[in-house]
């Protein structure tokens, strides 16, 4: 086989792993949509906020320092500590759980029985509020995420595959961070599926997802379920924030990774956890292979963003509910 063939395989593998990174974001959307029928526009901003909070805790940054300094004339910036990553992650998780409670208490509670479009609009408002709030709390400079996940091409894979394609091939390049992300995503999906199927709370979540009224009639608290779902989505956002933040720094654009999750959701379906992973992989491989085979050589490159949506549209035409989504038939 020629080096070109192996480079194609390399692009394919990297596409799979890029897809897993997209899936990490898509998972948060699926969880909330599945349980409450809300398309959570704020999911990307939640990932940004979670990552900012984690880095802030880790570096001992004083929250709202700028605001405090302006009002009181102080010069606060840092507490002077550096927390271990694990402790900072736990504290950030606590903040995301608190966030879930606040969202339910101040937004969702007041919008019970409203049209889905109203709930969607509420999440748009929440997203913009969170953007500003995050900036005010932690500042808008680009921060380094360091939770100990190594980055860079995996040398072992590179060296042990270099013999495959002759002199012009340098071995498969796979980013160690992407490998970690794949393992974490796999653990996350298995945990979520197990939780959903075998735990009491998971069964309650599924009951609410199937029928709100029926779930309420058997004593399941809709409000508690919403808090739990948003807290889990917050945890998924934290994981996505850690992986993407390690890749490109913690900064505002993290919130835009939601744009990468949309075609994944269109393709995998809005209600399937495994669908988010499979959809992500199809989108990742599709866009990377298209760029490699057609985009870069013939179209001048930068085709990935639009091709992902085109691929998702193509699937939509034949399967509107997505690959793994539930087909909804409403009788009139």
């Amino acid at each position: 086989m020629s080096a070109g063939f192996y480079f194609g395989v390399e692009v394919f593998l990297n596409g799979l792993m890029a897809g897993v990174m997209y899936s990490l974001v898509a998972l948060g959307f699926v969880l909330i949509f599945k349980a409450s029928g809300i398309f959570n526009y704020a999911q990307g901003v939640m990932a940004l906020f979670a990552a900012m909070t984690l880095v802030g805790f880790q570096n001992g940054q004083v929250p709202f320092a700028h605001l405090i300094n302006t009002i009181f004339g102080t010069e606060l910036h840092h507490f002077g500590w550096h927390l271990p990553a694990f402790v900072a992650i736990l504290m950030s998780l606590g903040v995301m759980i608190l966030f879930a409670y606040i969202v339910e208490r101040f937004i969702l509670k007041h919008l019970v029985n409203q049209e889905p479009i109203i709930l969607f609009m509420a999440t748009i408002g929440l997203a913009y509020f969170m953007e500003g709030f995050g900036d005010l709390m932690w500042g808008s400079e680009i921060k380094k995420m360091d939770v100990g996940i190594p980055q860079g091409g995996n040398l072992w894979i590179e060296e042990s595959t270099a013999f495959l394609g002759g002199d012009g091939f340098y071995g498969f390049y796979l980013d160690t961070l992407d490998i970690y992300a794949t393992v974490i995503a796999a653990i996350l999906v298995v945990s979520l599926v197990v939780f959903s199927k075998y735990s009491k709370t998971g069964r309650a979540l599924r009951a609410v997802a199937d029928d709100h009224q029926a779930a309420l009639s058997v004593g399941i608290s809709l409000r508690t379920i919403w808090v739990i779902v948003w807290a889990i989505a917050g945890f998924v956002a934290l994981v996505a924030g850690i992986m993407w933040g390690s890749k490109s720094g913690v900064q505002f654009s993290l919130s835009l990774i939601a744009l990468k999750a949309l075609p994944v959701l269109m393709l995998g379906g809005f209600t399937s956890i495994p669908g988010a992973i499979i959809g992500g992989m199809i989108i990742g491989v599709g866009e990377k292979m298209f760029e490699f085979l057609i985009g870069a050589p013939f179209l001048g490159g930068a085709t990935e963003n639009w091709f992902a949506y085109m691929l998702a549209l193509l699937f939509l035409v034949f399967r509107p509910q997505g690959l793994f989504g539930e087909k909804i038939i409403e009788r009139v």
């Binding site: 004339g73 910036h77 380094k144 980055q151 720094g249 505002f252 990468k260």
Partner: protein, 428 residues
Amino acid sequence: MKMTKFAAVAAAAITVASPVLAELVFPSLSYRTGAYAAGGIPFADGYADYFTLVNERDGGIGGVMTKVVECETGYNTEKGVECYESTKGMGALVYQPLSTGMTYQLIPKAAVDGIPIHTMGYGRTAAANGKVFNNVFNYPDNYWNGASAVVNHMLELNDGDIKGKSLALVYHNSAYGKEPIRTLEILSEKHGFKLTLLPVDHPGQEQKSQWLQIRREKPDYVTMYGWGVMNPTAIQEAANIRFPMENFIGIWWSGSENDVKPVGAAANGYKAVSFHSTGSDFPVYDDLKKYVVDAGKAAGAGDQLGTVVYNRGLYAAMLAVEAVKVAQSIHGVKDITSVMMRDGMEALVINEEIMTAQGMPNFGPTFTVTCENHGGPGTVGVLQWDATAETWNMISDYKPTDSEVINALIEEDSMKYAAENNIELGCK
């Protein structure tokens, strides 16, 4: 109740009766929010702090106080135009759009309104031809100077011969990122190096395909025209594929602390071209501390002093202040108008004596603006990042770029613009 009414009437009477104090107004189209805030904040802070310093230390310019009117654009062209429209009536003297897209929209508007635009190191490069673009200035450098400086640096590293070498341009897939392509294509023909173009879509945090291509094709050098998150992502990807960092050279918009610090030690040795100095080892910083920071008058959080983009804002403000002085001298008026400001900018001379007097010795290149040349000298230096010390070090003085190639391109593009817009060539 009666007292409240009385107080309101008295306040209104005082307002009406007071003589209007003259002010020199400098709108700042800033972006402290959004995807590019990390770059917008230090520039806006530096720009505002210099004018505060001039007010506090010198009592304004020629005795007339300055006023910075900030308007948030979020790096959004439409919002930028709205900001322009809402501030131009306040007596705006000069605009710094800080966005190439915005600059393209404002050029025709500013020409009608008679307000000069200064696009330092960005914007429409052909605006260097002052006979066509009477109201637009892009001294001391433009994008094409930057591209030529990268090639010159390659020449320096290879004893003047880069025939057979290869250069990849990783660029923001926007009007800004595409600016150097033509220049680099001509320079590749002239010097015989191979050029590969690698666009990256906004915002640029997913660049795996581009860097896998770089790994496959192994170019000798990579240059980058990026902004925002695209920069640290590219530098991280370069480190991931073990691309030699000393052969990776960014434009000035890809050469700040924001671009290298998130990458950590792996960014060591990364280079960027520049048209001004870095760090805070200048006398002006002593004044800033005394009159601005310690007085509690610093813009923003006051935590950007000494950063690359803060220095750029400072430098832009210093050039604006010097142009006001020239305008005041030409017209014999202290409270100048935007039309007078334009004249001041066109007659601006920046030499070492002036920079030293402002506490900024050797801060930027020396130059003289003329009607024919609104673009300045086109001399560019090279910076290199030291990740251990976390400092940018200037490794090359301001050196000339390929004026033969660049001037021909400026002439061609500006003439095309003049023909399309029925502009009568000439000096005002």
